[in-house]
């Protein structure tokens, strides 16, 4: 992987729900090792954009490229074919995703949540998967909670397990969909700390967030979205201290 080259490319992405246009002709690119934060008011389309990246939402038009390969479609000679669910699954493994509502598997312990996909999808040996999972649990500070069920964990702990679960697939990029929005305020910090550490280790991350301090300190690139378009983007300190657009200014005035 060439550091500095675009790892993820989004070209002319458009998505509607019924008659409601959610995303209009989005172009963006994410370089390997970069942290991109997407901010904006609710309903601006930022979560939908993130969900289009791994085709949890299938865009109406436009293409997402990961490492130059289009997501969800495949060339067969001169014709373009939509991938089957199971073909898409192979691509999705490379894009870890962390949800607002954690979505841990409630019938499995923290450890079982983490080893599930490595064993079932990547056919790793159980003993190896457990070994790696324990390293990841260490990393998110939850080694001693390995055998707890999700409902026995706090929201912050659940989200950290969810991050470890995604990391276990060794993804090329991590997508975070408002990872701290469902948390009590005092639990936000522990999740952001894990994300900060990931960023420092050079993980490529796309983060939809309302945490402006996190965006300012950690992001390499900040994108402000409103009304389904990218209004402006750039280095976070510049965008935050010197917004060019009136919409960005009014949004920042409300949240900062």
């Amino acid at each position: 992987m060439n550091v500095g080259m675009p790892l993820l490319n989004v070209e002319r992405l458009t998505k509607s729900f019924g008659t409601h246009r959610v995303l209009t002709c989005i172009d963006m690119s994410v370089r390997a090792g970069d942290v991109t934060c997407i901010v904006g008011p609710s309903g601006s389309g930022k979560s939908t954009l993130l969900r289009c990246l791994n085709h949890l939402e299938v865009p109406d038009s436009g293409v997402v490229f990961l490492d130059g390969a289009p997501i969800g479609v495949r060339w067969r000679g001169q014709t373009l074919h939509r991938m089957s669910f199971n073909e898409l699954a192979a691509q999705r493994q490379r894009m870890g995703m962390v949800f607002q509502s954690f979505n841990l598997f409630p019938h499995k312990t923290a450890l079982e949540n983490i080893i599930e996909a490595p064993i079932v999808v990547q056919r790793h040996k159980r003993s190896e998967a457990i070994e790696e999972a324990m390293v990841l649990l260490d990393k998110v500070g939850l080694r001693e909670r390995a055998h707890y069920y999700p409902k026995q964990l706090s929201g912050g702990q659940q989200q950290r397990v969810a991050i470890a679960r995604s990391l276990a697939m060794r993804p090329a990029v991590m997508l975070f969909d408002e990872p701290t929005s469902a948390l009590d305020p005092e639990l936000v910090g522990e999740v952001l700390a894990v994300m900060r550490q990931l960023a420092e280790e050079g993980m490529t991350m796309v983060v939809v967030t309302h945490e402006m301090a996190f965006a300012r300190d950690v992001a390499d690139h900040l994108i402000f979205m409103d009304g389904g378009v990218i209004v402006e983007g750039g280095p976070p300190r510049e965008v935050l201290s010197n917004p060019q657009h009136a919409r960005t200014k009014s949004f920042l005035a409300r949240v900062l």
């Binding site: 192979a90 995703m97 979505n103 999808v121 995604s166 697939m169």
Partner: protein, 312 residues
């Protein structure tokens, strides 16, 4: 003011005494009335000579009754297992994106929920009148195997068919509801981990759906136990028909019906306990004290919150 206080007797300090609890005279009156009725009923049971308790106890464990009991249990078990297996397939078909599968499943459920099990039992038993021989082969091609329907349809196989197919329709709807109750967040999480549809269904969705459908499956099992008594029309010696065969010889009708009643009650009580036990194991995995399950048995259905009530 000071005058007033002197004329009234001194009240104790409000902080030092407990208030007298609220009285419930209506509960006492209602309770007494009901106890009187219960007493009269019990007296009727004990003193009415037509009940012949000695006959009841004589036949309670007779080999004929026990054999019938065994058949009832076997029939319940086979019909439930078969019905649930078909039900899972039907539920998945119903939720599939293939309109033909959806439609086929819908028609099946519509048919087997709409036709009374008794009618079905008689119908299956007489299937040979409709289709005299069955054969297995390549359609429009050579025949590999064939048999006379009369040989295949015994009272037992007709009973299994009728009961299992009825059950499959109900099970399908329960399981479909269970699958749909698993949040889309779960399937999305599985998808982002690269799991295939089959893996997601088998490892993530079905285990969670199963937990949701355990209580209704338990109820259905108890219903099935009772529905099996319908097979007496096919002259299949289940618990009820065994009792009937005895009293048609001895004319001890009521005592033998009492024997059957007691056995049905015993079995359905055991099944209820088993269901509660499974439900609790699935809820928190902790082993449960028997007293707690027994307590839940009596509370069940009263306020509709049995799961909350039994948890310690």
């Amino acid at each position: 003011m000071a005058q007033n206080l002197k004329t009234l007797p001194e009240r104790p300090d409000i902080h030092t005494i407990q208030p007298v609890p609220e009285r419930h005279p209506s509960r006492w009156i209602g309770g007494v009335v009901l106890l009187v009725i219960v007493f009269l009923f019990v007296r009727l049971l004990v003193t009415n000579e037509n009940l012949h308790w000695d006959v009841v106890s004589r036949y309670m464990f007779s080999p004929e009754i026990l054999a019938g009991l065994g058949r009832t249990l076997l029939l319940t078990f086979i019909a439930m297992v078969l019905g649930l297996a078909i039900g899972v397939v039907l539920a998945i078909m119903r939720l599939s994106q293939n309109p033909v599968f959806q439609m086929a499943s819908w028609v099946w459920i519509w048919f087997f929920r709409g036709v009374p099990p008794l009618v079905q039992l008689i119908f299956w038993y007489n299937l040979a009148l409709l289709i005299p021989t069955v054969s297995l082969g390549i359609p429009f091609g050579p025949q590999l195997w064939s048999a006379s329907m009369n040989a295949l349809i015994t009272p037992f196989s007709a009973a299994v068919l009728g009961l299992a197919l009825t059950e499959s329709a109900y099970a399908a709807e329960m399981i479909r509801a269970g699958i749909q109750a698993v949040s889309t967040g779960q399937t999305e999480a599985a998808a982002t981990l690269g799991m295939s549809k089959a893996q997601t269904l088998r490892r993530i969705v079905l285990p969670q759906a199963l937990k949701i459908v355990v209580p209704p499956i338990g109820n259905d099992t108890i219903s099935m136990l009772k529905f099996t008594s319908l097979v007496s029309v096919l002259a299949l010696p289940d618990l009820l028909y065994s009792a009937q065969m005895i009293y048609s010889r001895t004319y001890e009708t009521i005592p033998l019906l009492i024997v059957a009643t007691i056995w049905y009650l015993v079995l359905s009580t055991i099944l209820t306990l088993v269901e509660h036990y499974i439900e609790h194991r699935m809820n928190d995995g902790r082993p449960l004290q028997v007293t707690l399950i027994l307590a839940s048995l009596f509370r069940t259905g009263f306020w509709g919150a049995r799961r909350a009530e039994v948890s310690p």
